[in-house]
């Protein structure tokens, strides 16, 4: 039992990668690996979180994140309900605080929050007793995405330590880039942000990454991580690059820009032909569907982790057995 690790300190929430230690990350990834084994069985459901309640509170459209959180909770036998802002009382002008307090009256164990505004999960954590998992808040954080990306990288390359990841695209508006850079730094991997100067936030190097404005620098990396170029960033008066056409020409990941042996990742949804060439997206180098699969087991592991303070692998092993 000596090698089993519990959390360094009791932690109720997963709000930001910045709150995690290297041990926290390793523990969640180990749990995810144990859980992955269970998914190969005929009956995929585990009794682990039976009697627990997970609420998904989504104020932003989402396909894969919401689907994977829902499925993750169900696979662990938790009761789950998902609320979207459309059609809910948020439509009638109810504040996030009131909605969260209302939901808290049902005593959910976990509230998973996605919201367009930075600080929304922190607000929910302040005004409820539930464990809060951040499923994306504005341009700030998307910690479960970073964890699933680590999982997918480790599955593909067999290691994380020393891996070099080039993250290409609209870093300025990307919660995925912020979370991933911090997560990579935690596990001893290296990251380089590649973007036009107008989409590189001033001071981002403080997160422990290198920065470049030259797409040729992706050649040195083991992983090319392509960020979505959001069309809404191109609105008149707010354009950060002169045109999507010029952006694609300078930063689009085409087959010529991918060297043999490199893998390519994308958090989705993809704008084919803008930040990523369809030939790359559909190639064997692309890990996009591995990322989606990783999303399920990593979110199962996260739900388990925030609700538990006991050493994890042993309990999961029992549950799996």
């Amino acid at each position: 039992m000596a090698e089993l690790r519990g959390p360094a300190s009791p932690r109720r929430h997963l709000l930001s990668v910045a709150d995690l230690s290297r041990d926290d990350v390793q523990r969640v990834l180990e749990t995810a690996r144990s859980l992955a084994a269970s998914l190969d069985r005929e009956v995929k459901k585990l009794p682990t979180l039976r009697g627990r309640t997970v609420v998904n509170l989504f104020y932003e459209s989402s396909t894969r994140t919401l689907a994977s959180f829902e499925l993750a909770a169900k696979r662990l036998s938790a009761d789950t309900m998902s609320l979207r802002s459309a059609g809910s009382s948020a439509d009638k002008g109810e504040s996030l605080k009131d909605t969260a307090t209302t939901l808290a009256a049902y005593d959910p164990d976990v509230i998973v929050v996605r919201h367009p505004s930075i600080g929304a999960p922190q607000l929910v954590a302040r005004c409820t007793q539930a464990h809060v998992v951040n499923a994306g808040d504005g341009k700030h954080q998307h910690p479960t995405q970073a964890l699933l990306d680590l999982y997918a990288i480790e599955e593909a390359l067999g290691r994380l330590e020393g891996v070099h990841v080039a993250i290409v695209g609209d870093v300025l508006h990307s919660r995925v880039a912020r979370s991933l850079v911090q997560a990579l730094a935690l596990v001893g991997a290296r990251s380089t942000l590649v973007a036009p100067p107008t989409l590189l936030p001033r001071g981002i190097e403080a997160l422990g990454c290198e920065v470049s404005t030259d797409v040729a620098d992706v050649a040195e990396a083991d992983v090319i991580y392509v960020l979505r170029m959001q069309k809404e960033r191109m609105e008149a008066g707010e354009a950060f690059v002169p045109s999507l056409r010029e952006y694609s020409a300078l930063y689009g990941i085409t087959p010529k820009r991918v060297r043999p042996g490199q893998v390519v990742m994308h958090p989705g949804p993809m704008n084919r032909g803008v930040e990523i060439d369809p030939r790359v997206a559909d190639s064997d180098a692309a890990l996009v569907s591995d990322q989606v699969r990783a999303g399920l087991v990593v979110r199962m592991a996260v739900l388990y982790d925030v609700m538990t303070v006991a050493p994890v692998p042993a309990r999961v092993a029992e549950a799996v057995a």
Binding site: L96, K97, I118, G119, A120, H140, H173, P201
Partner: protein, 423 residues
């Protein structure tokens, strides 16, 4: 120019170590006030209690008219009294905006009925603070406007500002400017730097302030008019102000307690009570502000007291409005964080909170002298207290100091000859 409830002056005695920096007084004295006027000053026994000229705050959002749920003239001036103030100036970004003699006249009437502490009202530079055409500044001045500002918003048009500077010659009152270049600050929620980069918050760079400070000082210099730069936050703005003053421009500046104490590191908490405009900047900016206050480039501490209803601040950081309260904590916060650690002398702090702002805005300077109206604050420098929501007189509690223990308490405030606060 200052208005409050009518009433006779009080008769009372105040005793302690009297510190009046501009008068060169620092000795233990007993001050007798008769019917509101200082009638005698006698030597007294040594005492740890400090008595000083009461404070003057030239930057207070009283939210009246329009948002009396956030602050009223009564609650705001009670808060001011508890903070040791004997005079405050209210900002005109209300609903409606104070841009006509009619609106100003109604406020003056309300102040005469409700204000516990003498209160002056600034009026808008432009009609509706829309930045398009000048408000009737001369008539507003005649109706009692203390100064002119579009605070909350910058005067974006250089042409309109130039005209306002020229026209202010008719009013004899200074222009007080909120310096912000909106095309640089748009979407900004935090100082542009490592913290905003890490948190993903829209960046509000120092230059959004400093390029406007430079522009406004250049215009004021050319027009030979007086200009006051509100809530200076960036070291580049401090440098610009210092250069302009050295070149003979009649310019002054103010700094808030929160910019003197906090940096953008505090924003990592994503607590809406550390969100304000201009934003908290980095430590080198904070150092530059303290140095400017010490040397006098910035001669005014102003709270930028900005009450907000609880439900407006109980939202995600990014959605929260800018602004924090400050009247009831300014002295204690600065004493705790600057005077106790030795970064600023008590004398300098007292001067920048009283005579400094009075001079800039042409208000009567609170003095401790026989024959003067009594404007006194009594301070227990060793008194510790905890900032709590329940402790505020203000109707709002959006303070960046909630839960903090502070050293230095206001025990008593005498404003215009009347005791307006006693702990």
């Amino acid at each position: 120019m200052l208005f409050c409830r009518n009433g006779r002056g009080d008769s009372l005695t105040v005793e302690g170590r009297v510190v009046a920096p501009t008068q060169g007084i620092d000795e233990c004295l007993a001050i007798t006030v008769s019917d509101g006027v200082i009638s005698s000053i006698e030597p007294a026994a040594a005492s740890p209690i400090v008595v000083a000229p009461a404070f003057v705050d030239p930057h207070v959002h009283l939210r009246t008219p329009g948002r009396e749920d956030e602050e009223t003239l009564a609650s705001g001036t009670r808060a001011a009294a508890a903070g040791g103030y004997c005079a405050i100036l209210a900002i005109p970004n209300t609903d409606p905006v104070v841009d006509s003699a009619a609106v100003l006249g109604a406020l003056v009437e309300r102040a005469r009925a409700e204000a516990v502490v003498p209160t002056g009202f600034m009026a808008a530079i432009s009609k509706g603070q829309r930045g398009e055409e000048l408000a009737e500044m001369a008539e507003l001045a005649a109706a009692g406007a203390a100064a002119f500002t579009d605070d909350g918003l910058p005067v974006v048009s250089a042409g309109l500002l130039r005209r306002a500077l020229q026209y202010s010659g008719l009013t004899g009152r200074p222009l007080a400017l909120h310096c912000e270049e909106p095309s640089l600050s748009r979407g900004g929620h935090a100082h542009e730097g490592t913290v905003s980069a890490e948190l993903g918050l829209g960046p509000y760079p120092s230059q959004a302030e400093s390029v406007m400070v430079e522009r406004d000082l250049a215009l004021a210099g050319a027009e030979k008019r007086r200009l006051h730069v509100m809530h200076v936050s960036a070291r580049e703005s401090v440098d610009a102000l210092r250069r302009a003053r050295a070149a003979g421009v009649d310019a002054s500046g103010e700094v808030t307690p929160h910019h003197l104490v906090l940096t953008d590191e505090a924003v990592r908490s994503l607590d809406p009570n550390v969100k304000m405009n201009p934003p908290l900047r980095c430590d080198s900016d904070r150092r530059a502000l303290i140095e400017a206050l010490r040397e006098g480039t910035i001669g005014v501490v102003a709270t930028d007291h900005a009450p907000h209803a609880r439900h407006e601040k109980d939202v995600p950081f990014e959605e929260a409005p800018f602004g924090v309260t400050g009247l009831e904590t300014a002295f204690s916060a600065l004493h705790t964080h600057l005077v106790v650690p030795g970064e600023l002398t008590l004398e300098t702090l007292l001067e920048r909170m009283s005579a400094g702002p009075a001079r800039v805005f042409g208000l009567p300077e609170p003095r401790i002298e026989v024959g003067e109206r009594a404007n006194l604050v009594v301070l227990d420098l060793d008194g510790e207290w905890e900032v709590t929501e329940a402790g505020f007189r203000s109707l709002s509690a959006n303070s960046w100091l909630l839960g903090e223990r502070l050293r230095g308490r206001v025990l008593r405030t005498v404003a215009d000859g009347r005791e307006v606060f006693a702990a």
